[in-house]
């Protein structure tokens, strides 16, 4: 005996099995990201005065990535509706754009990550705190190590990282930010890059965006598989094939939606 409602919807629920499955799975995913957002709120509310940084991320790049994902959301629907109209070629074109968008998103995101990993935050023995993009690191003629930071931002360490945006504003006005800053090893009290271990903000930023990026990659792989090697099903069981496209599309919308929440929370607030 065959399992019923694999392709045809059940009368009283109006849904085929996989659609019920994906909605349930998404409910679970909502709880997963919900847990992370709740953690974000608790960590931010509980952070001691002056320790929660803002304005550390590149908003234009984040905006571009948001647009890229929204575009992919549109094409994934267009692809599905093209398939519903039995236009397989059209479907392939639209879905190719979707996959391309996913790849673009990941590429941009990885450059963003790299940017952060090579950004160094230095506390000097004088009590000054300087951070900037690592431009050069080496030894001078005397054999002392040094590093050069481009676009350095400096402020008193006691003010805490929350003071940074104000310092940026001032030093942009004065032009101080455009000059590279050379720091000798002997001046350095502590140094670390903007990795997840840098502070709790980066910890939650990297955790949430990395988990989201994994979802993007997984979604793109599934969509690409259906698009490429899985397409033979279109000839044997077109309705089931359309269902697969629809279900993967639902997942894709969810991934986009998560980003729509992540972007303001991490970049803008």
């Amino acid at each position: 005996m065959e399992i019923p409602y694999v392709t045809q919807p059940r009368r009283d629920t109006g849904l085929y099995n996989a659609k019920v499955g994906i909605w349930l799975f998404l409910a679970s995913e909502v709880m997963l990201f919900g847990g992370l957002f709740a953690s974000y709120i608790m960590l931010r509310v509980g952070a001691p005065e002056g320790t929660w940084p803002t304005d550390l991320l590149d908003v234009p790049i984040g905006t571009i990535n948001t647009v890229v994902l929204i575009l992919s959301s549109v094409t994934v629907v267009l692809a599905w509706s093209a398939l519903k109209l039995k236009n397989f070629k059209q479907y392939r074109r639209f879905q190719a754009v979707t996959i391309l968008c996913a790849v673009t998103f990941i590429v941009i995101k990885s450059f963003e990550y790299r940017e952060k990993f090579t950004h160094y935050d230095v506390v000097l023995v004088t009590g000054e705190r300087v951070d900037g993009h690592l431009k050069e690191r080496g030894e001078d003629e005397q054999g002392e190590e040094y590093l050069v930071l481009s676009h350095p931002v400096s402020y008193p360490a006691v003010n805490g990282i929350a003071y940074r945006p104000e310092a940026v504003r001032e030093q942009k006005k004065s032009g101080q930010i455009d000059a590279d800053r050379r720091i000798a090893q002997s001046e350095v009290k502590s140094i670390k890059n903007w990795s997840p271990a840098a502070n709790t903000y980066f910890a939650i930023y990297f955790t949430m965006t990395a988990l989201h990026a994994l979802h993007v990659i997984a979604g793109a792989l599934v969509i690409a598989w259906i698009w490429g090697p899985g397409a033979s099903l279109w000839k044997t069981d077109p309705e089931r094939y359309i269902n697969r496209v629809e279900v993967s599309g639902l997942f894709w919308h969810f991934v986009d939606l998560v980003w729509i929440f992540l972007f303001p929370v991490l970049y803008l607030l």
Binding site: S28, G35, A47, N199, A203
Partner: protein, 609 residues
């Protein structure tokens, strides 16, 4: 796998009289049939149940005879676990490992896979008249993730420094800073187990929504199916926050973040010793971990108990030859329990200083959830009223014992629900006794009832009645000997998680101290050890009965030896692939026992009037 299959096909082409069937691997190891997967779950989970039980015996030994070499098993422990069990003694660290892993194994690897995945997989599709689960391959993957998670958990015993030591709750910061990779194994194992239960839960719910046979309306579903439905929702929605907690703790351990390490926490040794990095982190909240953990942790309690209630309801209705009393009430109650279980979690955290207002809120919801729980138990009791009770069979004995035993567990929970009483009882043996009464003589009796009840459907043979009764009476007696003294110990103030069983706080060792643990408290440790060992012996008749009945058990007289009404009994024995002879059509409710005017005292759901 494919090779064996094509070979089998080729063979069947050449020798037409050979039956064409899937190979052994395909049929038993990589099966997609819900019944085989259910059995895989059952066998694996029962093995883990035994492992968890052994750990408990070793812990009882340590509590009663602190730092004395373990008799008989000592040398074996030393060979297996190395330094932690030097000279066959259980070191405090090893005790902590055993404690953490006993909890983890029992909850996540034994009970949930048994009552939810095993019984659910085997019985639910049969009871709703489906040919299989909605997603057979996802079902197979679910078992494989579970198995992998179990392997990871077990492996962690044998790595340097041993398994996780911070309790089954793995509270940070303790869990993060203990210097063993066991915690990392634990976290990875948990992520695998969560994945498994996610796949399982999606499958169960989709199956129940989509694959009900014609005529099987929602209010004609056996209550057991309802219970599994609610349980699946609990797993689906409550586990992800724990996954979040596991991921974040993993980040803390491996990447050096400080999600759960509060600013200013002073650590004097270990890899996290720099106080400055914690100070610069901008927060980090130990309380956050507890919130995330118990957001799963409390619904999990209902995941443990609800399916057992479902089994008990089926057995009681069948053996009392009466319809389940208040079927609709039961359905709404279990839905209410499921919903409320999501808003009671912080009653595990009264002592954390989260504030009296929040405590008062969770105290209120906790008391409210006891109402539908009591309603369920009351309905089960009233079902017996005026029934024609077949009392003297193992499934019915276990089901009947479940009622008062769960009652003890439930009622002793009330003082814990109240903030002020909990301040005294928190983290004592009272708590241990309370939840073990719910889970051990509660859930385990429920699942034993289920095993004796459905054994003839699965194998076509009955388990031995006499040895079943021996198993029952001995288990009942020794369960109580193990857990009853713990109430006393806890009320006297004996704290849990001590390898010496509280000896360090005994009045014998501190004659001048005030409020030391008296001699009776300490002597109970020995009583508990003896009870535990006897409880172990009491399981031998069950294990032998379980295996020997496969071959020597009395053959079931028909496909429906208990004369039951639900669809699972209207299948051939054992149910073949596809389950039913012809697609069943449901025409009546699930519990038409002793219908006036009917030829027999039961009318199956698919039998027309």
């Amino acid at each position: 796998m494919e090779a064996t299959q094509t070979q089998a096909q080729r063979q069947s082409v050449h020798e037409t009289h050979h039956e064409q069937g899937p190979g052994f691997l395909r049929q038993y190891i990589f099966s997609t049939d819900h019944k085989i997967i259910g059995l895989q779950y059952a066998v694996t989970a029962l093995c883990f149940l035994l492992i968890g039980f052994f750990l408990m015996c070793l812990m009882s030994w340590s509590k009663a005879y602190d730092m004395a070499a373990v008799p008989v098993l000592g040398p074996l422990l030393e060979t297996l676990l190395g330094n932690a069990a030097a000279e066959g003694k259980i070191s405090p660290d090893l005790y902590n490992s055993f404690g953490a892993m006993h909890g983890t194994i029992m909850v996540f690897l034994a009970i949930v896979p048994m009552v939810f995945a095993a019984f659910g997989n085997y019985i639910v599709p049969l009871q709703i008249g489906a040919v299989d689960m909605a997603f057979p391959r996802i079902n197979m993957a679910s078992y494989q993730f579970y198995f992998l998670g179990g392997v990871v958990m077990l492996t962690s015993f044998f790595i340097p420094n041993g398994a996780a030591q911070a309790g089954w709750t793995s509270y940070s910061p303790l869990a993060t800073v203990i210097e063993t990779d066991g915690q990392t194994f634990w976290l990875i194992g948990m992520v695998l187990l969560i994945t498994s239960s996610l796949l399982g839960a999606v499958n169960f719910i989709a199956t129940i929504i989509q694959l009900r046979a014609p005529g099987m309306t929602w209010m004609r579903m056996p209550w057991f199916v309802w219970v599994q439905f609610v349980t699946a929702f609990l797993l689906l929605l409550a586990f992800p926050p724990l996954e979040v907690a596991a991921l974040m703790q993993l980040m803390d351990k491996l990447v050096g973040t400080s999600f759960f390490l509060p600013t200013g926490m002073a650590l004097t040794s270990g890899e996290f010793a720099t106080a400055e990095s914690a100070a610069a982190s901008g927060g980090g909240s130990a309380l956050l971990y507890q919130h995330l953990f118990w957001f799963l942790g409390h619904p999990e309690v209902y995941v443990l108990i609800l399916p057992a209630m479902g089994i008990v309801a089926e057995v009681i209705s069948n053996h009392a030859r009466r319809p389940l009393w208040g079927y609709r009430t039961l359905v709404y109650s279990v839905l209410a329990v499921g919903f409320l279980s999501f808003i009671v979690w912080a009653h595990h955290m009264y002592l954390t200083g989260m504030g009296t207002f929040i405590s008062a809120f969770f105290q209120t919801t906790t008391i409210i959830i006891s109402i539908p729980s009591v309603v369920i138990l009351t309905c089960l009791f009233i079902t017996l009223w005026g029934g024609s009770i077949r009392i003297n069979t193992p499934p019915m004995l276990f089901a009947l014992a479940f009622l008062p035993m769960f009652g003890i567990g439930g009622l002793t929970g009330l003082p814990l629900a109240f903030n002020f009483a909990d301040l005294h009882l928190h983290d004592t043996y009272y708590v241990i006794a309370h939840f073990h009464y719910v889970v051990a003589p509660g859930t385990i009796f429920g699942l034993m009832a289920g095993i004796y009840f459905w054994y003839p459907k699965v194998t076509g043979r009955l388990m031995n009645d006499y040895w079943g009764k021996v198993h029952f009476w001995a288990s009942l007696l020794f369960m109580n000997i193990v857990f009853m003294p713990m109430f006393y110990q806890g009320m006297k103030g004996m704290i849990r998680r001590q390898h010496d069983g509280g000896a360090g706080y005994s009045s014998a060792r501190n004659p001048d101290g005030i409020g030391g643990l008296d001699d009776t408290v300490m002597e109970f440790n020995t009583v508990i050890l003896m009870g535990a060992l006897m409880l172990g012996l009491a399981q031998i008749p069950f294990i032998l009965n379980f295996f020997l009945s496969l071959k020597y058990g009395e053959k079931a007289a028909s496909d429906n030896p208990w004369r039951a009404t639900t669809l699972d009994w209207q299948t051939p024995t054992p149910p073949p692939h596809g389950n039913f002879r012809q697609p069943p059509e449901v025409v009546r409710g699930p519990y038409d026992y002793s219908l006036p005017g009917a030829k027999e005292d039961f009318v199956p759901q698919n039998q027309p009037a």
